[in-house]
Amino acid sequence: MIDILYFAWVRERIGLPRERVDTEATTVAGLVDELRAREDRYALAFADISALRVAVDQELADFDAPLVGVREVAFFPPMTGG
């Protein structure tokens, strides 16, 4: 089981801030493929992966990052702090 968090317009498109999923994916990219296949709102949110950033256990990561032992994955648009 992995906690998945969504922020900003990713959260709005998917319609929820977080969920717990049971996944067989071994990488973030594999997890994205599983989510995309679920429903249109996921397919829409993940349509253009280049517009998204991902954090694995609260550290910025790449989409090919492994999911072994991971507890939390977050998807969001590029950050706009400061």
Binding site: F7, A8, A55, Q58, L60, P78, M79, T80, G81, G82
Partner: protein, 145 residues
């Protein structure tokens, strides 16, 4: 000495600057403060963040800056939630022996906070709301460090 605060409450930039400067050995203090800019039709700004990761990311950036420029002190305050036009959004302060280090460290902190700390700004206007898009120039700014 590294201070990091992520909060919804307003802060008093002047009081923070004075507390930050109190008893310093260093001679150079630089601050940056960001205010919600008055962009015409905007009513407010809503800032979302990633609790937990935000504090970790900012602390990592601040520690990096402190080590690189031998800062005596560094402070980062960043708000989230709904902010009115003209309200303070965030502030950084750096204290170093010489001015070049204090300036560079503050610019470095700002460049990293812009693109690497998990905050997302949304502009609330009379006609609706819109997420602020990240600028390519902000990403490019990181390449100089």
């Amino acid at each position: 000495m590294i201070g990091v605060r992520v909060q919804t409450e307003a802060f008093d930039a002047g009081a923070e600057l004075n507390a930050f400067s109190e008893g310093l050995q260093a001679g150079a203090v630089v601050t940056f403060s960001g205010l919600v800019r008055d962009a015409g039709s905007m009513i407010a700004m809503e800032i979302e963040h990633y609790p937990g990761m935000t504090e970790r990311a900012i602390a990592a950036i601040a520690e990096d800056a402190a080590a690189r420029w031998s800062l005596e002190r560094v402070l980062v305050i960043h708000r989230h939630g709904r902010l009115q036009v003209g309200a303070p959004i965030m502030m950084v302060a750096t204290a170093a022996r010489h001015r070049a280090a204090a300036f560079q460290a503050a610019e470095f902190l700002m460049d990293y906070l812009k693109s690497r700390a998990p905050f997302w700004k949304k502009e609330i206007g009379a006609d609706g709301a819109e997420w602020v898009a990240a600028k390519a120039s902000d990403e490019d700014a990181l390449t100089r460090w």
